[in-house]
């Protein structure tokens, strides 16, 4: 079978909900990693931080983190009006070019897991998980204290 995600098999982040304790450290480290300073305190100054690209949902004992699935058939890429959203043919990652984003919210309308975040506060564009370009293991996975988040090729 051809590798459908490009040249290599893409590693994805999977959430094991039975291990999630709802601590939201994934959100904290996502914001930090995607900040200019990469400093955990500075990155969270009120009014200056962009929203986290991973989001914890919680109700009663159930909690889990949601982020972009880097879909094989990415609805966001197919629907993007400006061409800001693309799927890297080599790595399989779904990439969002913030400079070309129109902030029309079409990707928010079609993302089946609701993982694309409308960033209305800072730039009026959308924002999504980039699997932490440059890091071997994404920040949310690295800092998940109960190893609820895993980064692997095979689905759970």
């Amino acid at each position: 079978m051809n590798a459908p995600d490009g040249g290599s098999v893409l590693k994805r982040i999977y959430a094991r909900e039975e291990y999630c304790i709802g601590c939201r450290l994934c959100e904290v480290h996502c914001v930090t990693q995607h900040s200019q300073s990469k400093d955990i305190v500075k990155a969270h100054r009120r009014g200056f931080s962009a929203p986290s690209r991973v989001r914890v949902q919680e109700q009663g004992p159930l909690s889990f983190a949601v982020q972009c699935r880097h879909c094989r058939e990415p609805a966001c890429v197919y629907s993007c009006l400006s061409g800001a959203m693309s799927k890297d043919p080599l790595t399989g990652r779904v990439i969002h070019d913030a400079n070309r984003c129109l902030g029309c919210w079409t990707c928010v309308m079609v993302c089946p897991v609701g993982a694309i975040v409308p960033d209305v506060k800072t730039r009026k564009i959308t924002s999504k998980c980039d699997l932490c370009e440059g890091l071997e293991i994404p920040a949310c996975v690295q800092n998940c204290p109960n190893r609820s988040l895993v980064f692997q090729e095979a689905p759970l």
Binding site: Q59, P112, V113
Partner: protein, 425 residues
């Protein structure tokens, strides 16, 4: 000249087809005929080009080298005057004949100009292409008041761009409210408030019946006269009352045309080896289960991908589309999908949550427990989860009231559904 693949139209549908063809056939000869002499670009972004001073390089839809990178023979600034379906040949405006093995018609739509007094001789404008936006930019320095005829998607986006340029703008809408095709009364009212706050005037429930020119000029507009006799003095008038499929070169003996070109689930027309997609086609609508013309950018691209895959010898099925729009006019986020104005007493169930003070609104339309329409205004996070439930016709009876909550998320879904989505790859 002969090509294995010929595509008429270099916008969303044509580009989708090129990408799908090249994913499956790197070498087959491929020509794209595009009427516009410019590089490919995103048509929905012409309002940014007009209103925000964004440059052409910033509104391109793909890289500037897209055609070269995909080994496309691009014939830009050329028009197809005739399509001979039986001989599998097209003829360009300069008389050149091009033979094809597989053809895609992705010619799009052309703006509708109503036949009213004055439109024959007075300069009127439309707003669908980059050329339209450029022309308006040229004329704007000498225009104070602009009348936009039509309060649909194009009319409102044009009004927003003009308002950003501090022009006086009046929208004339025939129906009793703006965006009436894609919103209900409460949704329209919220958008109308945002438009009014930006200083744009709206006249609803009336139509333009005459365009009058200046005394000294046959072509310059002086005023627009409405059906009730109201006279609106203005410097420019732009028509934004919709588009009709561009089928003038089609041989109706071979290709079945309803309002648009009729295509099956494979985007194939009634003529062998000829496909159609985008604004020119009538394709499957997953809400009504029938085929209809839906002039929407994402659907043109997706239809183009499906057509391209099939042209390259695969068997790809069009998932279907529906009336689906995300808007961000004047900073108010709006998402609207499917049947949002169900007929009264028709068995549809309607759930709503309107909060005027915070300018948020949620509406879900259901039929037998399945979502057939949705409107979200103000807070749109997670909209795609609802869209996916609608598209896949998932029965939401168990958790339907949660959908009205702004915190609605995957955790309200049944466990198997949730695990399936979370583990998606």
């Amino acid at each position: 000249m002969n090509f294995k693949y010929v595509i008429i139209g270099g916008s969303a549908g044509g580009i989708g087809a090129v990408e799908a063809i090249r994913e499956n056939d790197k070498a087959g000869s491929l020509a794209v005929i595009s009427e516009e002499p410019t590089p490919q670009y995103s048509r929905p972004m012409i309002s940014e080009y007009l209103g925000d001073g964004v440059k052409l390089e910033e509104i391109v839809y793909r890289s500037l080298q897209f055609w070269e990178e995909h080994a496309v023979n691009i014939l830009a600034g050329r028009r197809v005057v005739k399509l001979d379906a039986s001989m599998k040949e097209i003829i360009l405006d300069d008389g050149i004949e091009i033979g094809f093995e597989k053809l895609l018609i992705a010619t799009g739509g052309k703006p509708i100009i109503p036949k009213i007094e004055g439109t024959d001789n007075i300069e009127i404008y439309t707003f669908t292409t980059l050329a339209d936006a450029k022309l308006l930019l040229e004329k704007l320095p000498n225009a104070e008041h602009i009348v936009v005829v039509g309060g649909g998607l194009i009319g409102v986006s044009l009004a927003e761009a003009l308002a950003k340029l501090r022009k006086k703008v009046t929208i004339i809408e025939l129906k009793d409210r703006i965006l009436s095709l894609i919103l209900d009364a409460d949704g329209s009212a919220l958008v109308a408030e945002a438009i009014e706050r930006a200083g744009v005037r709206m006249i609803t429930g009336h139509s333009a019946t005459r365009i009058l020119g200046k005394d000294y000029s046959d072509s310059e507009v002086r005023e627009v006269v409405l059906d009730d006799g109201t006279e609106l003095a203005c410097d420019l008038v732009v028509f934004a009352v919709g588009v009709s499929p561009r089928i003038e070169m089609i041989d109706l003996a071979y290709i079945k045309v309803n309002r648009g070109i009729v295509v099956d689930r494979f985007m194939a027309t009634s003529a062998p080896d000829i496909y159609a997609c985008g604004d020119v086609a009538e394709a499957h609508d997953f809400t009504c289960g029938d085929s209809r013309a839906l002039p929407l950018w994402p659907l043109a691209y997706i239809g183009g991908r499906v057509a391209g895959s099939n042209m390259a010898g695969l068997k790809a099925e069009y998932p279907g589309g529906t009336q689906m729009n995300a808007l961000n006019y004047f900073g108010l986020p709006v998402i609207t999908v499917g049947i949002v104005n169900p007929p009264v007493d028709s068995g549809f169930e309607v759930l709503t949550n309107l909060r005027r003070e915070s300018r948020t609104y949620r509406k879900i339309v259901l039929q037998n427990g399945i979502i057939t329409g949705m409107i979200l205004v103000g807070k749109i996070d997670g909209a795609g989860i609802i869209f996916d439930l609608l598209k896949n016709k998932v029965n939401v009876k168990e958790f339907k009231n949660n959908i009205l909550s702004e915190d609605f998320g995957l955790l309200h879904l049944s466990e198997p559904l949730r695990r399936d989505l979370l583990g998606r790859n």
